[in-house]
């Protein structure tokens, strides 16, 4: 049987819209 590795840690991700929002605010902040 396949050897089971230890459980992987779920990386939380923002949604596509949230990512865009963060990206827009970063662009606005930068001169």
């Amino acid at each position: 049987s396949a050897q089971r590795s230890r459980p992987r840690v779920l990386l939380k991700a923002p949604t596509l819209a949230e990512m865009e929002e963060m990206n827009t605010s970063e662009e606005e902040e930068s001169p």
């Binding site: 590795s5 459980p7 992987r8 840690v9």
Partner: protein, 394 residues
């Protein structure tokens, strides 16, 4: 006794390491400034494989911040390119292929057994060890949908101005112009300037070009099928809508030309192995409209034949075409009011939609079936032209 220790060249394990400060350069060279032409002759979807190998190294060193940062920058980079080049079919298709490939890689190497059934033992060694990227897969799937919609919008924008003249106005069947209804001037209502008319060959050439680009870039075959089903839906809807509004094209001769044009499109689909896309079935209302124009429209038997044939047209559409039908010459009679009433009576039990015209902007939901790759990460070569020499093979 002397022992010679032979140092073995370290094997490439299919991972790419970079310093965090090089992330912006990586995204610039691999995403935002990349021209798809630079990758001619390399493995299709190379950027996706390189990105996966970078993610894998960040996973290997258990650096969640690096994984987050790389995925976020990649997604924002792709969005930036596509916003800037929002009418570039080649670029949009390229990033659709790569986004889907990256999504497939995150599944294929997730460690989830459901996605590993076709993996080789070597490929199984290349799975992620520390992180579960399920949520990022959702983001990439949403991004793929956005890119697909942009791709369809671009292709429709190119094809739409050609449809009416190519499907309804252009006469490629020899001798057919002699049997056109008299008293109508040739119109080019589809064009802003009346001189631009297209033949069916122009549509086919354009579709050949779309198809070649998508295949060369390694876009999943299932997605290519969905693109053509969608484009054929639009060809069907725009042509049928024009037919339902224009008396001058509701004639026997246009019906004959139209049927011929549709058969040319069917042949093209078969020639490109796209006939299983559902594109032909989507053209059924138009096929039936072409047949309706050619059928006899006089006796109760003719009415019966029309009703049993035109199952993909609504009663309203059938009646409209019959009302608009224009006899070829003085020897052919107009469709009588009585005949139309017979048809209406026969079809009254049908529960047809009320609207006459089709929504030519309707989009079918897209699906991205999992498509694992047989490529192994350690076999991938990074060409010098990508300027990624700061990536270390691990």
């Amino acid at each position: 006794r002397q022992v010679t220790v032979q140092r073995k060249e370290k094997d490439f394990q299919g991972m790419l390491e970079y310093h965090k400060e090089d992330e912006a350069l990586l995204i610039r060279n691999l995403v935002t400034d990349l021209k798809p032409q630079m990758l001619a002759g390399t493995v299709p979807c190379l950027p996706a494989y390189i990105l996966y190998m970078c993610i894998r190294h960040a996973d290997y060193i258990n650096d969640d911040v690096k994984v987050h940062s790389l995925l976020t920058s990649t997604i924002n980079g792709i969005k930036k390119v596509l916003k800037k080049l929002n009418d570039d079919f080649e670029m949009t298709s390229f990033w659709l292929a790569n986004t889907c490939r990256l999504l497939h890689c995150l599944k294929q190497y997730s460690g989830d057994e459901g996605f590993m059934t076709q993996n080789t033992a070597k490929q199984n060694e290349h799975c992620l060890k520390n992180f579960d990227l399920t949520e990022y897969r959702q983001v990439l799937s949403d991004l793929s949908i956005q890119i697909y919609q942009q791709l369809i919008k671009i292709a429709e924008g190119v094809l739409q101005p050609m449809i009416v003249s190519a499907m309804l106005e252009n006469e490629s069947i020899q001798g057919l112009s002699g049997v056109k209804p008299t008293g109508y001037r040739k119109r080019s209502s589809s064009m802003a300037d009346g001189d631009n008319s297209y033949c069916l060959e122009a549509i086919i050439r354009q579709m050949n070009s779309f198809h070649t680009v998508m295949c060369d870039q390694g876009l999943d075959p299932e997605i290519i099928l969905q693109v053509f089903k969608q484009l054929f839906y639009m060809i069907n809807a725009v042509t049928l809508n024009n037919l339902l509004l224009r008396k001058d094209v509701c004639s026997w001769s246009t019906g004959m030309q139209l049927r011929y044009n549709i058969s040319q499109l069917e042949e093209w689909l078969r020639g490109r192995n796209l006939h299983q896309s559902g594109a032909v079935q989507i053209m059924e209302p138009l096929i039936q409209a072409a047949q309706l124009l050619q059928l006899k429209k006089k006796t109760p038997e003719d009415a019966e034949a029309i009703c049993s044939l035109c199952t993909s047209l609504s009663t309203q559409q059938i009646v409209k075409i019959l009302n608009l039908y224009t006899p070829l010459n003085e020897f052919e009679e107009r469709v009588t009011v009585g005949f139309i009433r017979t048809i209406q009576a026969q079809l009254q039990e049908r529960n047809d939609p009320q609207q006459l015209l089709l929504d030519f902007k309707h989009m079918f939901p897209v699906l991205f079936p999992f498509n694992p790759s047989s490529l192994t990460m350690d076999s991938i070569h990074i060409p010098a032209c990508l300027n990624l020499e700061f990536l270390n093979e691990v």
